[in-house]
Amino acid sequence: MNREGRAFWWQLAALAAAVACAPLMVGNPYHLNVLNVMALNVLVVTGLNLLIGFAGNISLGHAAFYGLGAYISGILTSTHGWDPWLAMLAAACVVALVALLIGIPTLRLAGNYLVMATLGFNLIVTILILQLDEFTGGPSGFSGIPPLKIMGHSLASDQDFYWLAWTTALLGLLLARNLADSRVGRGLRALHDSPVAAAAVGVPTAAYKVQVFVLSAIYASVAGSLYAHYFGIVSPTTFDIFASVELVTMCLVGGMGNLWGGFFGAAFLTPLPLVLHVFEEYKDIFFGGILLLLLIFQPQGLAGLWARVRGARAARAGEGA
């Protein structure tokens, strides 16, 4: 295994240890709830990062995929009595198909048409959720979604769901890293740098962009299904266009094209509104301000900042030796 490979395993192990210890230090169930939402955001933003950071395409519709996962899971289990795990799988398949239908016409074109298409898509999904109220519950939301069960044990409590959410998030990170450091991952990063040169050595650029878009939508869908079964209720505003912007912000703040970007972005921005709850009304200004400052002073995001601090320390150690 190469050096970066070993480093990744150490970092993942450190994160897993932190995840394992955190519940011992968190007494307040509400804080556990925040950590659970954070895990779901880590999952969505990690998927989004594969699209934005590796393939270089921006989606402003990921909250819609998140929402579709949540609503499809909710409706299939609550209205139609499906098993939650099966519903989660079905939701992921439907979302993958929808992403494929959006991706094929838009990603074949050079230029960022995906932004416009996904923006419109998110608006459509929000309107459909509001209008189809006999299926979706409309503006007041859809409730009565059963929790997930593992061998008859319900994962309804904050504590139980915590393990499921973070296991899934870490697994999502691991799979994303495996992809990034592979033939396909190199192909994606290559087409980000130079699409013509990537094609000239055999990278099917359009197909890869569509596939990574579908993959990132599946990440969002799985997180959405988990969300629905955890809270038992879903409402349209959670998945509107502003939520999509927040997800992209997390990705940029965390660090585009860095595997840990999704983690850092979600870990930093998920609890922020709660910490700053006195400024509730100014939340968007804070988000915007943070994004602006980071893009100016630290375009590699928080993950890049961390790497820079470590690099500086290594350099000092090197000078000392």
């Binding site: 799979l175 994303a176 495996n178 992809l179 592979s182 033939r183 396909v184 991952g185 190199r186 192909g187 990063r189 290559a190 980000h192 740098d193 130079s194 013509v196 040169a197 990537a198 094609a199 000239a200 050595v201 055999g202 990278v203 099917p204 650029t205 596939q211 990574v212 993959l215 094209g257």
Partner: protein, 274 residues
């Protein structure tokens, strides 16, 4: 004469009202170096782009290895053993030098998303093979010491060599080189010339578009001359140096051969991207 690997027949290409290529035909023998030369705007890069699938020609045929390849996508052609380099450098700046060359093996490897994410045994074996072959290609071009550097940090000359390594690593049948020595100093140009001859030695067919006449005359087996989108001459380097129409084109009427003649080094303004 060896068999023909690539033949271009009556190739036509136009952009708006501008006829970039008209009725251009030539054959590229396997295992040889063919140079395409001509003044700026002659249609050299357009010809490369038509052959490599970046442009779809308006008329004529491009036959590679016995198959007509008009309008086939570049990544499909790469799988058939046809690849290229670019006039304005196109290294993957954010990938390491080794990774750049590893991407070069894309056409001859096949593991997809699922097997990558799950690290299946077949994928790991393929990954080892990719790494090994890429290292060998780096050594061939003397780049092994820069393997782990981001390609964007290399000198211009080294980036040119990374591009060449990336194009060669998959052992293609034909490589189209768009100005391989443009912007290189004399020592680097000399190294590149040696590298091209070594590649030829391995049986790879090369087509190069180049302005550096001394290099063209030294390494080519065959020279094709374009002028305003038409082929005006074709032959071995010696006969091209004495060809009356070539002399007229380059020198405006004088008819003494000038070996090692350097033409306008500025790159022509043909877009390399579609």
């Amino acid at each position: 004469m060896p068999e023909t690997l690539l033949s271009v027949r009556d190739l036509d290409m136009s952009f708006g009202g501008v006829q970039a290529l008209s009725q251009v035909s030539f054959a590229v023998p396997a295992g040889r170096i063919t140079a395409v030369i001509g003044p700026n705007g002659a249609g050299k890069t357009t010809a490369i782009n038509c052959i490599s699938g970046v442009y779809r020609p308006r008329g004529g045929r491009v036959v590679f290895n016995g198959h007509t390849i008009n309008g086939q996508a570049p990544h499909v052609l790469a799988r058939q053993g046809l690849t290229r380099t670019f006039q304005n450098l196109q290294v993957f700046a954010n990938l390491s030098v080794l990774e750049n060359v590893m991407v070069g093996l894309h056409a001859v490897t096949g593991r997809g998303f699922v097997s990558a994410m799950l690290r299946l045994p077949a994928q790991r074996a393929e990954e080892r093979r990719i790494r090994q072959q890429a290292r060998e290609a780096l050594e061939f071009l003397g780049l092994q010491d820069s393997a782990s550097l981001p390609a964007g940090q290399l000198s211009y000359g080294d980036r040119k060599r990374v591009e060449l390594a990336r194009a060669l690593v998959a052992k293609p049948k034909l490589v189209l080189l768009d100005e391989p020595v443009a912007g290189l100093n004399p020592a680097e140009t000399e190294d590149m010339g040696q590298a091209l001859l070594a590649v030829r030695q391995q049986g790879v067919t090369l087509v190069l578009v180049e302005h550096d006449m001394s290099l063209v005359m030294r390494v080519s087996d065959q020279v094709v001359v374009l002028h305003f989108g038409r082929k005006i001459a074709q032959g071995d380097p010696q006969s091209i140096q004495r060809h009356p129409e070539v002399l007229r084109t380059y020198l405006g009427g004088r008819d003494e051969p000038i070996p090692g003649l350097d033409m306008d080094p500025a790159p022509p303004q043909e877009a390399a991207r579609a």
